[in-house]
Amino acid sequence: MSPTGWIIMLTSVFGMTALFSWCIFKVLTHKDASDQIHSPADIDPHDQDD
C-alpha cells in the first residue's frame, strides 16, 4: 500500500463517514417549525404561582 493509497483511502472513508454523521446530527437536532410555535398554554405566567 503506497502513501498515496493511504491518503486516498483515509480521505474517502473518513470524508464519507464525516458527511453522513454531520447530516444525521443535523437531522436529529433540527427543530421542526411546528415545535417553535408557542401556543398560549406554553406561556408560563409566573405571577400565578401563588
Binding site: 493509497g5 486516498i8 474517502s12 472513508v13 464519507m16 463517514t17 453522513f20 411546528s34
Partner: protein, 561 residues
C-alpha cells in the same frame, strides 16, 4: 396532500438510504473502482456525485414533494400536476415500469442471498464441502470444496442445469428451481408484500428502522474480520490485507490483457472516457436516481420538512455504505484468497453477480470461520436487497391506489400477480441468466438513463427552476449552493446527454452484444417483448387514471384523489 406520511425525518432518510443501498454498494462499486484506476477512480466518482447524483436526487425530492402537496404520490400524477397537461402523465409510465420490472429479477437475487445465508448457517454447505473433499486428493481438498460450493450455487439459482445428459432443459430448470430457490423466493415475495400492505409508516419505515442498523452491524462485523486477516498464508506473503487494501486504493488501475495483469497509471486512468462513464454509471445506479422511487417517497414528506438536507443525508448514507464499508471488504478479501485477476475480470464486466456469488464463496472456504462469515455476508446482502426491493413496489402501489381508486388490498393483489409472472419468467428462464441480464440492460440501464435525462430537463425547462428550487428550499435549514441553478440548467443535462449518448453509441448503435442477441436469440426477443407488453399495459392504466382524475376535477364537490 398525499394521505400517507412518514413518521419521522430519520425514518424517511433510513428508508431512502435503504432503497439506495443494495448489492451494487458491496459488490459492483469495488469491482468497477478496481478496474478503472483504483484510488484514482475516486476523483471522477466524487465529481459525478456532485454534478449528477446529488442534483438529480434534489430534482426528484422537489418534484415528489410538489406532487405530494397536490395530492399525488405516483410519477404520472406528479408530472401531470406540475404541467397541468394530461399528456405529461405518460412520462410517468417510465417511472412505474422501471422499478416494477427491476423488482422481477431483483427479488430472485434477494432469494439467492437468503438461500445462501441459510445454507451456510444451517450446515448444509459444510456437508457439501465435506463430501467433495473426501473424494479429493490430499493436495486438492480446498479447491474441491470451492468447486463443490460453486456448483451448488449455480444449481441452486438454476443457472446451469444439473445432470445435463439426463433430462430436457425446461424440466431440469423447473426441478432445480422448485428444489432450490423457490421456497426462498416465495418467502421474499411474501415479506415484501406484507410490508408494502402495511403502508409507508407501519411497513417500509418500521422495517428500515431496524434493518438499516442491522445492515451496519453485519457490515462492521465482516469488516473487522477482513481487516484482521493479516497474512493468512505465510508461504505467500504478498497475499496480505495491506496489499489487498493497496490493490483497491492505490491510484493505479489494472487491466487484463491476454490473461495478464497490466497496470494503468493515475493520469492514464483519468484521461480515459471509460473511467468517467463508469464513475457516472456507478453513482447513477447506486443512488437509485432515475428510478422514480425517490419522487414517490418524497411525496409523503411534510411541507415543513428539510428535503434538501434529507436528500444529502440519504446520498451520503449510500456513499458511506459504498465507500467506507463496500470498498474495504470485498476486494481486500478477494485479493488475499483469489488473486487480482479474478477481481479485474469481474470488475471489467461490472459483474457483481459473478464476483459476489461465485468468487466470494471461494474466499469463505479459505477464511477462518468462513462459513459463519459467509452466512453473515449473504444475510447482509439479503437485508440490503430487501430494503431496495420494497421501495421498487411502492411507486406502482401508489399509482394503483390513487389512479385507479383501488383499495390497498386490491392494489397489492394486482401488483403481486404482475410481478409474480415476471419473477417466474426470470426464474424459469434462468439458464445462462439471459432474461435477467437483458431485463437489466433495457430497464436497469437504458430506461434509467432516459428517465433521469427527462427528469432533469423537465425540472429545469418545463417546471421551471424558480418553482422547483423554491420547493426544494421550502422548510430547508440547509443552504443550497448558489451555483445549483447553473448546474441544473446546463451542467447536469449536458453531462447526462453526453453519457447517455456515449452509452447509446457504445451499446446500441455499434451493434453490440445486446443488439446482436436481440436480432438472433428468441429468448432475448421474448424478454424485450415482455418489457414492451408491460410498458403498454401500464401506459393504458395511466390513460385510464388520467380520465378518472379529469372526471373528479370536473366535479368539485367530490374529494380529490
Amino acid at each position: 396532500m398525499a394521505s400517507e406520511k412518514w413518521g419521522s425525518k430519520l425514518g424517511v432518510i433510513l428508508a431512502v438510504t435503504g432503497s439506495a443501498v443494495g448489492l451494487g454498494n458491496f459488490l459492483r462499486f469495488p469491482g468497477v473502482a478496481c478496474a478503472n484506476g483504483g484510488g484514482a477512480f475516486m476523483i471522477p466518482y466524487i465529481i459525478a456525485f456532485l454534478i449528477v447524483g446529488l442534483p438529480i436526487a434534489w430534482v426528484e425530492w422537489a418534484m415528489g414533494r410538489y406532487g405530494g402537496k397536490k395530492g399525488f404520490s405516483s410519477a404520472p400524477g406528479i408530472f401531470r400536476a406540475i404541467t397541468g397537461k394530461d399528456r405529461s402523465a405518460q412520462i410517468g409510465t417510465l417511472a412505474l415500469i422501471i422499478p416494477v420490472i427491476i423488482y422481477m429479477w431483483y427479488v430472485s437475487i434477494e432469494a439467492w442471498c437468503l438461500g445462501y445465508a441459510w445454507k451456510y448457517w444451517s450446515g448444509g454447505m459444510q456437508t457439501i464441502v465435506t463430501a467433495a473433499q473426501q473424494a479429493a486428493p490430499t493436495d486438492g481438498k480446498i479447491d474441491a470444496g470451492i468447486q463443490a460450493v460453486q456448483n451448488y450455487l449455480l444449481h441452486f439459482a438454476g443457472i446451469v442445469p444439473e445432470n445435463e445428459n439426463t433430462a430436457s432443459g425446461n424440466f431440469r430448470i423447473l426441478r432445480q428451481f422448485t428444489q432450490g430457490s423457490l421456497p426462498f423466493l416465495l418467502f421474499c415475495f411474501t415479506i415484501n408484500f406484507i410490508l408494502i400492505y402495511r403502508g409507508i409508516n407501519k411497513g417500509i419505515e418500521w422495517f428500515c428502522r431496524w434493518a438499516m442498523p442491522a445492515l451496519l452491524f453485519c457490515a462492521l462485523l465482516i469488516l473487522v474480520r477482513v481487516l484482521t486477516l493479516g497474512t493468512p498464508n505465510p508461504a505467500n506473503p504478498d497475499a496480505s490485507i495491506l496489499n489487498g487494501l493497496g490493490f483497491m486504493w492505490n491510484p493505479v488501475g489494472h487491466n487484463l490483457i491476454d490473461g495478464g495483469l497490466v497496470q494503468v497509471s493515475f493520469w492514464e486512468a483519468l484521461s480515459r472516457p471509460q473511467t468517467w462513464l463508469a464513475a457516472a454509471g456507478q453513482i447513477f445506479f447506486s443512488l437509485s436516481v432515475g428510478f422514480g422511487i425517490i419522487m414517490t417517497y418524497a411525496s409523503y414528506t411534510k411541507k415543513e420538512d428539510d428535503i434538501a438536507l434529507s436528500s444529502v443525508s440519504a446520498a451520503s448514507g449510500n456513499g458511506f455504505f459504498e465507500v467506507a464499508l463496500g470498498g474495504m471488504i470485498v476486494i481486500p478479501a478477494a485479493f488475499i484468497f483469489l488473486g487480482p485477476e479474478s477481481i479485474i475480470s469481474a470488475g471489467e464486466k461490472a459483474s457483481s453477480l459473478s464476483l459476489g456469488f461465485l468468487a466470494l464463496p471461494g474466499v469463505f472456504e479459505y477464511m477462518p470461520a468462513g462459513h459463519f462469515f459467509g452466512g453473515l455476508f449473504f444475510f447482509l446482502l439479503f437485508i440490503a436487497a430487501i430494503t431496495s426491493s420494497l421501495s421498487m413496489l411502492q411507486p406502482a402501489i401508489a399509482f394503483l391506489e390513487e389512479g385507479l381508486d383501488l383499495s390497498r388490498q386490491a392494489a397489492v393483489t394486482l401488483l403481486g400477480f404482475i410481478t409474480a409472472i415476471g419473477a417466474l419468467f426470470v426464474s424459469l428462464m434462468s439458464h445462462g441468466l439471459t432474461v435477467l441480464d437483458h431485463l437489466d440492460f433495457w430497464t436497469g440501464n437504458f430506461c434509467i438513463y432516459l428517465l433521469a435525462t427527462i427528469e432533469v430537463i423537465f425540472f429545469s425547462y418545463v417546471m421551471g427552476l424558480d418553482r422547483g428550487l423554491k420547493e426544494l428550499a421550502s422548510g430547508a435549514e440547509m443552504k443550497l449552493p448558489k451555483i445549483l441553478p447553473f448546474v441544473l440548467k446546463y451542467i447536469t443535462p449536458l453531462f447526462l446527454l453526453i453519457i447517455f449518448g456515449w452509452w447509446l453509441k457504445d451499446q446500441v448503435f455499434s451493434n453490440g452484444p445486446y443488439i446482436q442477441a436481440l436480432q438472433s436469440d428468441p429468448t432475448v426477443q421474448l424478454t424485450v417483448g415482455f418489457i414492451i407488453i408491460t410498458t403498454l399495459f401500464f401506459s393504458l392504466l395511466v390513460h385510464i387514471a388520467v380520465r378518472r382524475w379529469n372526471k373528479i376535477e370536473a366535479t368539485p364537490q367530490e374529494e380529490s384523489p
